[in-house]
């Protein structure tokens, strides 16, 4: 005799969630690594200076 297949426990199933749209806010410069991260990160000005220094190599900064 073959064993009965186990039925999933109904209480273990997640409740149905209807599809819905979620609007989220994206920070484009951060998302694409377009900005220098911090004043203490070695950036495109080179090892002797920081990328958020003067003159600024990048037009943006963020962390």
């Amino acid at each position: 005799m073959s064993p009965k297949p186990e039925r999933p426990d109904p209480s273990a199933r997640r409740a149905y969630q209807p599809p819905h749209l979620t609007r989220v806010h994206l920070v484009p410069d951060e998302a694409v690594l377009a900005s220098c991260k911090t004043a203490t990160t070695q950036g495109p000005l080179g090892a002797s200076a920081k990328c958020t220094g003067i003159p600024a190599l990048c037009s943006h900064s963020g962390s």
Binding site: Q17, T22, R23, L33, A34, T40, P44, A47
Partner: protein
Amino acid sequence: MAPDAFRPLVLEIAGLGLEVKPAEPGIRLVTDAAHQPFLAADARGDCATVTLAPLPSPRPAKKAARMVFDTGSVWRLEETHAGHLLTLRSPVYGQNPYLAVEFDRDYAVGHGETVDGGPHLAGNTMHPFVYPFDEVVYLARLARGRGVLVHACGIQHRGRGILLLGTSGAGKSTSSRLWAERPATTVLSDDRIVIRSDGGRPRIFGTPWHGEAGIESPGSAPLDAVYVLEQAPRNRVIDMPPSAAVAQMMVRAFPALWEREGLQFAVQFLAQLAEQVPVRRLQFVPEPSAVDCVLASLDSGAPEAPDAGEAA
């Protein structure tokens, strides 16, 4: 100078290597203090190799077939016959790139050049791991099914991994400082964390790309819970349904926005993560009590139900 001063540098982050070799002898490779704990003795396992040649002055980059992604700022990615061309530019060096590397399609091998007097090369001293070069290469390689880089502070506390996600100003560095004061705690990074699958379970890894707190560690931990940071007048943990959790994680991740497969991978990876570990909103005040609030929720679960209409 010791003979091994001219050896290649091998960066190892989240078990992934990036080896950089100079194309000419007599060039010494160095790195900043933040990257040093992440240096490996040799290239091993899953490791990309980039060879960089010195360039006396900026020159136009190789003609590419198609622009793949232009950040409008420092870096661009173009498609070539053999793979991808990554170029880095700055107004300081004019319109031509100060660094150009052509990679194969898998970003496993790259050959390029960098301007002498630029960010990566000064005379016979080369600084290969200057922002954003190494981070972009890792981002591209992670997107090939390896993992996801996220904007987060990562904590290893008594062997458990806690991820505090947040964009700039959300409180990652502040949180890192608060957690760093706790015993049996290592802050893996105050700004960038890699998440990879380890035997089917998510694991978080430290990176050298730190934030304002300047904290980084090459450690890792199995991920126990994710919190999306939100500064508020009082501490409060709120559960998020998986669909909202994925959306909130995606805007705090660095997927390969330029390729469909990379984006799909990131969404699927984070969707699976949201099924495996709790993802919660953490409304917090920048005080030690915020750490206690997280620790209390780790074992007891989120005390409050999701809000209607999740939005960033």
